[in-house]
Every structure is written in C-alpha cells, then in structure tokens.
C-alpha cells in the first residue's frame, strides 16, 4: 500500500494551495476530493450546453499576489482581467454608477450630491488605510495572546507595532472601523441614500448580519483588501470562470509532483494513539499518512469526519457552536443575448461591472429581517454580473452567462428543509427583481440554476452554504478563528491541520489560509519553508 507524507482533504483552492506548497517543499502529497471535479467553490462548470458557469464564487480579487507568484499561476494558465465600475439601479428610474476613472466617478457622485462627491475622496483614503493595515496580517499566523512563547510575543509586538505606526488619530479610527456597523460608518461620510446603499453591500456579502449590525464595517474591508495586478481594491474575472483559479493551482501542485484524486470522499480522519493515522475513504479504502490537512470547514472536519472520542470535549463544543451560517444563495443563468437596461445610457460601460437593484438602506436592512425570520429576502440584495461581457470564452458567440449572488437566503426555511417549490419561488424572486429593470430579460433566459445554501452545501461541502466557512465576526477573527487556542492551523490531534477558510484570515478566494497552514506544517516537519512572505505594501 502506498503511503504519503501528507494527505490534504478537499481540492478547493485552499486545499490545493496547501498541497502545492507542501509538494514544493519535497513532500509526497496526496490531495483527495469527493467530487469528480476539483475546485470546491472555485469552479467552472458546464451545466447547460456550451455555457460555462462560475456557479459558486464568481469574481476574483483577494487571491494573494504572493501566492500567485510563488506558484507561478500564470504558467498554469490563470489570467485575471479587471473589470470596471458597477451600478445601482433605482426605483425612480435613475441610477448610481461607479467608475474607475476618478474624475468620472466624482462627476457621478456630484450628480447625486456634491457633499458626497467630496466625502468620497476622504472615505477612499480612510478605507485604503485600513486595507493597508490588515493586508500585512493576511499572510501571517495569528499570535496566541495567552501564550508566552517567544514567537507569539514577537508576533504580538509586530501587530501592536503596526497599529502604533498609524499614529494616534488613526489608531482611534481603526478601533472604530473594526467595531462599527457599515451603515453607521457610511453615515459618517455620506448623505445620499443610494450612495450609502451602493457602498454598504460589501459589508454584508456572505454574512448573516445586516448593514446595521456592529462589526460589518470590517466585512467591507474583506471585499476591499484584494487587488488585481497591484491595484488594491479592484476586482476581476478569471478567464474561463473561477475554475481556472483552482485548475492553475492544481497545475502547480502536480508540477511539483503532487498526486490528485477526485471521486475520493473522506469518510473519516483516522486517529490512533492520539495521532492521525490517515484517512478512510467512503469506498472503505484507507490511506495512511502522518500528516492530514483538512481543507473543509471546521464543522464538517470535526463533527462529520472525525470521532468525537478522538477530540477534547471543550474543543468539540466550541466547534459545535462555531457560527457558520448560510445567508446567501446563487442564481446562475444562461442568456440568449445581452439584456438591456433602459435606465442606463446606450453603450454604458456600467454593464461591465456588478449591478444592484436595491437602492435604499431600509430595503437592505429589511432583506436581513426576512432572513432572521427564517425565510429568503422577498426584496433581496443581488450582486449581478455578466462575465461574458469581458470573457467570451464562457458562452457561445453572442450568448451570455449571468451570475446572481443573492443575499439573504437561509439554509432552512423556517427551520425545515427547502421544498422544490420554495427553491423555484426563491429563484423567481431574483428574476423578477432584475426584470423590473430589464424588460427583455425574462425572454432571454435559456436556463437557470437556482442554488440555496442547501445545494451549495451538498455540492461544495460548505456547511450551511456559508461562503466564508464561518462568520467574520470579531469572536471568530484573528486569534479567535476558528476557535480560541487553535488559530495556528494545528488541530487538537497530533499531525492534524486545518487549511480551509474557517482559519485566519477567512474566506474568499484568497488562498492565504492554505498557504499559512503549509508554513506551519513545514515548520513542524522541520522542512524548509516554501511559503512566500508578505510582499509588503508599495
């Protein structure tokens, strides 16, 4: 029987990244994946004729450039093209567009409010400062504040030092930024409802919180701290869909000699004498390795794939109470042609970016109230994109693919399983909202895939369909992520590691958790480190 130095469970982008860095260090690594395709939630799937769907994640920005370069992802075919702009269509027939060009953007702000146009520069500078601050921590292992180990103390001092470096006033700003709600944060800069609404969306995407919940300003950051080609805050499309990201990382992994097995679901992570022994597949096959790394979220890893008796009780309880809430769904649509939006001027570049159809803070928050009551938002926040405007490879000539990310959508309806009728009704809610602004949209629909958190869990394995593998609230960030005392990628059993988005710095197609976990594993194995350092900021 073949044995390995390490087995990585799950070929999502983090699992693959972790496997690639381990393989690069010369380890004999096997990556197992339950589906017959790789990528987890970063996939391109051919679900209807010649259309390619990015049916989970749909845009790319957070992928760490350090990792991109260290794994030479360009050589494995990854191309990310930035897209500009974005637009919020309003009930009164007007719209609010955002543009990359500073002067154009300023004019558009000023069209709605002169005050807000001026405030925007201040806002951008302030948010960018927070981005710079946090970007430094993305590729680092969080220190344990309760520990007296030199490494933890050194890291704590580093963290404190970066904070102090900001200067007194900025330190106060930072405290506030990390604890405020996105609504209140925006309230401090802007007066126009539609502008605040357009900017607030990033504060709640993927979370089970509303724009008025404290802590959501930080989530905003989670959508601003990425970059495309060194442009911090910009977003792009992966050519060929999000599966291209996973494919490129898998390419790197295999180029370093790693072995990839699909259709190999893990039944259990086997523990013997307090150490991992390997994994047992659903087929009954057992594969041994002294190191097992889980790319799955912590609930799935510890509650479903491990024996409770192998784990310390307090740890098991904490994981059991880990907050990983399904709050979003997706509707993916194949289109016969490009829908028109009469509110926008002909040929407007705004169609290239993301489109939103909710124009007031109250509507945003009410969408959350529906979720709290256990139902999908009747007037949801939709982040809609048509990637084929930029990337013709994803649909036949003249045809289009539309991705709608929908907030909020519960994992269960009023506490019970979704029925097919309810799922269709949810899909129809989304389609109707878009159709209100595009009269020809409904006639162009060839096929629609409606995904509630349940479908996302069943296919990609994300518990409750939570795109971040766990809420990004303060009690689950940094040294608290995934649970206090276990934030350094090591599980509670010898040889067991976590590398998924449940760990610091959290979700998004970032690959930082996978890389950080690899660094810790290589450290424990006394191998040379293949994981790159933070580039540092400009």
């Amino acid at each position: 029987m073949k044995t390995y130095d390490a087995i990585v469970v799950g070929a999502g982008h983090n699992g693959l990244t972790n496997a690639a860095f381990l393989a690069k260090a010369g380890l004999n690594v096997l990556c197992v994946e339950k589906n017959d395709y790789i990528g987890g939630a970063a996939v391109s799937r051919n679900l209807y004729k010649d259309w390619i769907y990015s049916n989970c994640s749909y845009v790319c920005s957070l992928l760490r450039p350090e990792i991109f370069r260290a794994l030479e992802l360009h050589r494995h075919g990854l191309q990310v093209t930035p897209y500009g702009g974005g637009v919020t269509l309003m009930e009164n027939g007007d719209y609010f567009g955002s543009y990359w060009d500073h002067d154009v953007a300023h004019r558009e702000f000023a069209r709605h409010s002169k005050h807000d146009a001026d405030a925007y520069d201040r806002y951008s500078a302030d948010v960018m400062r927070q981005c710079r601050f946090i970007r430094d921590f993305l590729m680092r292992t969080p220190p344990d504040p309760t520990s007296f180990k030199p490494r933890d103390i050194k890291e704590l001092i580093h963290l404190g030092g970066k904070f102090m470096e900001m200067g007194e006033d900025r330190m106060y700003d930072t405290i506030r930024f990390w604890t405020m709600s996105v609504a209140e944060y925006l309230e401090e800069y802007f007066e126009t409802d539609v502008i605040k609404t357009a900017l607030s969306g990033s504060g709640i995407i993927g979370t089970a919180l509303g724009i008025h919940s404290p802590g959501t300003a930080y989530v905003l950051l989670h959508h601003y701290m990425g970059e495309v080609d060194g442009n911090v805050g910009s977003w792009g499309f992966a050519r060929g869909g999000m599966g291209s990201v996973s494919k490129a990382i898998a390419g790197a992994f295999q180029a370093y000699g790693g072995e990839l097995r699909t259709d190999a679901g893990v039944e259990q992570i086997v523990v013997k004498n307090g150490k991992v022994k390997g994994v047992a597949l659903t087929t009954g096959e057992e594969i041994d390795a002294p190191v097992v790394v889980s790319g799955m979220d912590v609930k799935r890893t510890f509650l479903k794939c491990m024996d409770k008796n192998d784990l310390p009780e307090p740890f098991w309880n904490r994981v059991n109470n880990f907050k990983i809430r399904g709050s979003s769904g997706k509707v993916n649509i194949a289109l016969d042609g490009l829908p028109t939006f009469p509110a926008l001027p002909k040929g407007s570049p705004l169609l290239d970016g993301d489109m939103h159809f909710i124009d007031s803070m109250e509507r945003m928050e009410r969408a959350y109230d529906d979720w709290k009551e256990g139902t999908w938002s009747k007037d949801p926040y939709i982040d809609m994109l048509i990637p084929t405007v930029n990337d013709p490879t994803m649909a036949p000539p003249g045809k289009h693919f539309m991705s709608c990310f929908v907030q909020y959508c519960p994992p269960k309806v009023e506490g019970r399983e979704w029925t097919n009728e309810e799922r269709d009704e949810f899909g129809q809610t989304v389609i109707n909202q878009i159709a209100d602004y595009s009269p020809d949209f409904k006639d162009l629909i060839l096929h629609a895939e409606v995904r509630t958190p349940k479908e996302i869990e069943d296919e990609a394995g994300l518990t409750e369909g939570n795109i971040f593998h766990g809420e990004l609230t303060m009690d689950q960030l940094l040294f608290n992520r995934p649970v206090p005392g276990y934030a350094q990628y090591r599980g509670p059993v010898g040889g067991l590691y976590m590398c998924g988005s449940s760990t610091h710095p959290g979700g998004g197609v970032m690959a930082a958790p996978g890389a950080n976990a690899a660094r810790e594993i290589l450290l424990d194995l006394k191998r040379h480190n293949t994981v790159p350092e933070n580039f540092g900021d400009d």
């Binding site: 007194e168 604890t179 405020m180 919180l209 008025h212 802590g215 907050k323 709290k372 609230t473 005392g485």
Partner: protein
C-alpha cells in the same frame, strides 16, 4: 463685579455633583450651575400626578460605584435591595432570577445559568476596574498612559488561559448566540437579552450586546436596588454632600455659553447674562451639546468637530408612569412579589422583533418592558393605599419617520397598554393617571441630546479610548480648561458617578502635573 471660582461645573446631574464634590474635597472653590429648579438631572424624582411621584429617568439603582460612595463618605438609603427579577410568562408560569439563582427553569438551565453568571461576573469585575480609571491615550510615550495600557493587558492576562480566551471571544459578540448556546427556557433568554439591550440602539442579535450586558453588571454584580424617595433622593444626597464640602450649587441658572478668551476657557455666561469666571469649566452636558451649542465649533478643530458630530446618541428608551388606585392582578404573582422588577420579554426573538422597527424609525408595536412598583416598598411615593408603576419601554426611537405627533404618542401608549394587558388583565381599570416620556421629552426636560440615557450609544466604537471621541477620552477636551464629566465621557451612563469621579481625579492630576 463677576464672581470667580477655581472650577465651574455646568449641570447638577449626579456626575456633575460627584465631580464638584471631589474637587471641593481637594480644596477647590467650585460652583455648580443647574438649569432646572432641582438638582439631579435625569436622576430625579418628579411628581407626575397629584400625590404620585416617580423616578422619572433611571428607576433602579445598580451602577452606583462603591468607589464614589467611599470617596465622598455617603451612602444612599435603600427602600429595597437585591431585587428579584421576574420574567413574566403567560398563564402564571414565570422565571425568577436573583444573583446566580434562577427558578422556574429545568436543572440543565439552572446549571448553565450558574456558569454563565460566574463567567459574566468575573468579566464584569475586570471591566469595572477599568471603568473607574481614566482611559489611556493611545500612541503616546506618556508613562501614565503606557502604565495604564499595561495594566489593562495584565488584568486580561491574569484571567488565565481559558478565561482570557473566553473573554476575548465574548467581548465583541452578541448576547443572542451566547444565550442560544446555553439555555433552553425562552423566558430566561428573553429576560437576559433585555438586560443587554436596555438603553441602547441594539437588538440581541447585534454584536456588542455582551459588552452592554457586562456594563450593566459591572459596578455591583448587577445587584438591583431602589432608593427611598426615588432617584431624586440620591441626587439630593450628593448635592448635600457637595455643599458640605463647600460647593456652591445654584439651580435655575441655565448656562448659555462657555466664555472663551485667548484660545482658552475663561468662564461661563448664563441666560440672565451673568458671567462667572473660571479657568476650569467642566461640562456635565452631553459632548455634542458641550461642543456644538455651549462652546461653539469655531474654537475647536474641524476634524474634532466632525467626530463629535458623528457621536451616535439617539435614544430608544421611553418611560411610562402610571398612577394606580390598586396593584394589578398578575397570575401566579403574590402580593409580596411586587417588590420585584418585572420584565416582559417573553423570548429573545420577541426582543429582536421589538428592535426591528427602531432601525426604520418606527416604534415597536409589541414593545419590551422593565416594570417596577416603587411605591410598594416606598409608600411615600403615592397616596395611602395607592401605587405607582414605573416602566422602561423599548423601542421608541428619538425621531419617528412619521413624526411624534399626538396620534403617534397615543398609538404607542395603546401598544404598551396592550402588551401590559397580556400579563396584567385588570391594569387599565386601576389607572388614575399616566405619563409617557419619550426620548424627545427626556431631551427637553433634562437636556440630554437625543434623550439617550448614556449620552451616546454604548458600543465598542464609542467605548473606552474612543469615548466620547478619540483623543478626548481623558476628560480634557481640546480647548484649554474645558472638561467633560457626564455620561458621554468614559465610562458611560447609569447612575454610577464614575464619570464624575474620574473627571475630578483627571483634573486634579493635571493641575498637579502642570
């Protein structure tokens, strides 16, 4: 000839009085100017119907800092102490809480409650040590600030590994998840979540509500009491104490502006045009009013003004006072139980639903209530044989989308009475008179901006180092000689006296250093 003092305190709220008394005790010649005809600010006893009096603002005493009492050598006379909380359920099945004991729930919940209470008490005590200190400034090389920060770090570490982790996890969290994790009984969860949201613009699901819960427990482990004569008596006690130390307390004197000369404070001017001179002016008013109205923004930097402008202080707590000819009937409640604090918050989702409308500037159609019958143990508050009911009602936003006209007030009062009726079916028949105080009424009567009883929302972004705003958390405002001593400063509201005491100590320390 103008009078001259070592220090002038604007407003005789309980914090203003504590601050003045502390300064006078240290030998300063202090003047307190109060706009109303009585002292105490929102810690007041007012007559709301002939023969019926009530604590019109805060009606329970739980936050009064032992340090304040011992420094000033005073002690309030209590009508009742260590009150029980009764979470009212339907059909006479209630949950009763006191200290770490809970009745009316199963053994598992009782066990969990003891553990929960122990944790919270430990963290609340840690918090309390830092409520009674001036928060350090960040990013300075000042020895005092660094020591203070080090002490904070040390205190947290001293909890030990397990508790420290728990503390760091909980401090930014919402109470909803913690309650759901531990308890099964809906009444218990409802009552505990109510404590976390009273006086705030937060619902149980809002992160930050563990902090507000801890804040409520900080001074005396959450032990509840009522003073004889209502809250106004506590203020009288503090005013008398201040006078004994030589403070000059003058009521009916509204300060119009802070006099600024040569870039520093020179005194104050009252409505009557009277000018009182002092190089130290301490404002017990809320920070917005202090800067925007009393001082004038032209004397401070724009950046500072903007921060002050952004302080969130829109209140949500209303009060309902009822004059009753008889105590109401409550199923399962005996007469002796009426000393207790009753809450109507039947489950945690009910509380969250009550909060929802507040986000849209609408009032709760089904509000949450904290109810006391102060006259039960303190008969002087009502004519013989009759009673007073005092209830804090949430949520009643400061500004209503449709405006708080008479119809809206009446509609809200009906909602409150309907909610009360579910537990006290004969209450309406016993009502002789009623008074509803909305946040705007508090603002008008006591001058607290937004009618917010903390003079500013008590959330992490307005707490400690950044309360009221970053750079001014040490009581000195960025205008030479101007200070804050009210609830808008660290640590925040409640009848606690901590802000007044901390401010006095900071001023004395500064004088010593200068």
């Amino acid at each position: 000839m103008t009078e001259r003092f070592d220090a002038i305190v604007i407003g005789a709220g309980h914090n203003g009085l504590v601050c003045a008394a502390m300064l006078a005790k240290a030998g300063r010649d202090v003047l307190v100017l109060e706009a109303r005809d009585q002292v105490g600010g929102a810690a007041a006893t007012d007559t709301f119907a002939p023969g019926f009096s009530v604590s019109s603002g805060a009606h329970l005493l739980y936050g009064l800092q032992p340090d304040v009492l011992s420094d000033l050598g005073v002690k309030p006379e209590l009508a009742s102490d260590n009150l029980r909380t009764i979470a009212l359920g339907s059909n006479g099945s209630h949950v009763r809480l006191r200290g770490n004991e809970v009745e009316g729930v199963d053994a598992a919940d009782q066990q969990q409650f003891r553990e929960f209470h122990k944790n919270m008490r430990r963290f609340a005590r840690l918090l309390n040590r830092h409520l009674n200190r001036k928060p350090p400034r960040l990013g300075t090389k000042d020895r005092g600030d660094l020591m203070s920060l080090a002490k904070l770090g040390f205190d947290v570490r001293r909890l030990g590994k397990t508790d420290m982790r728990e503390f760091l996890r909980l401090i930014g969290m919402n109470i909803y998840d913690e309650l759901e994790e531990r308890f099964a009984n809906p009444l218990l969860k409802g009552a505990l979540s109510l404590d976390a949201v009273l006086g705030t613009h937060l619902g149980p699901r809002s992160p930050n509500t563990i902090l507000t819960y801890l804040y409520r427990m900080a001074a005396n482990d959450g032990r509840l009491a009522t003073p004889v004569g209502g809250m106004g008596a506590v203020s009288e006690m503090l005013a008398n104490c201040a006078r004994d130390y030589g403070v000059n307390v003058r009521t009916g004197q509204n300060v119009k502006r802070v006099v600024v000369e040569n870039g520093r404070v020179a005194g104050v001017e009252t409505d009557g045009g009277e000018i009182y001179e002092s190089l130290t002016v301490i404002s017990n008013a809320d920070p917005k009013r202090t800067i925007m109205d009393l001082t004038g923004t032209r004397h401070v930097e724009t950046g500072f003004t903007r921060r002050v402008h952004n302080i969130r202080m829109r209140g949500n707590a209303a009060k309902l006072h009822l004059a009753l000819d008889h105590l109401p009937t409550i199923a399962g409640i005996e007469k002796k139980d009426f000393a207790a604090r009753f809450v109507i918050a039947p489950d945690v989702d009910y509380v969250e639903r009550a909060f929802n409308p507040a986000k849209y500037r609408e009032f709760s159609p089904k509000p949450v209530l904290e109810i006391t019958f102060p006259s039960f143990r303190d008969p002087g508050l009502a004519p013989s044989g009759k009673h007073v009911m005092s209830a804090i009602v949430q949520y009643a936003p400061y500004e209503l989308k449709a405006g708080w006209d008479d119809a809206a007030r009446a509609a809200f009062e009906t909602c409150i009475m309907d909610t009360l009726n579910t537990c006290m079916p004969d209450l309406a028949g016993h009502v002789e008179a009623s008074e509803l105080l909305l946040p705007a009424d508090f603002e008008k009567r006591f001058g607290m901006g937004g009618g917010h009883w903390h003079h500013g929302e008590l959330t992490l972004d307005q707490f400690m180092f950044v309360r009221p705003v970053g750079g001014a958390a040490q009581y000195a405002l960025p205008l030479d000689g101007l200070y804050l001593c009210g609830a808008g400063a660290h640590p925040g509201g409640n009848v606690s006296g901590a802000a007044g005491r901390n401010a006095a100590l900071a001023i004395l320390a500064k004088e010593k250093g200068a």
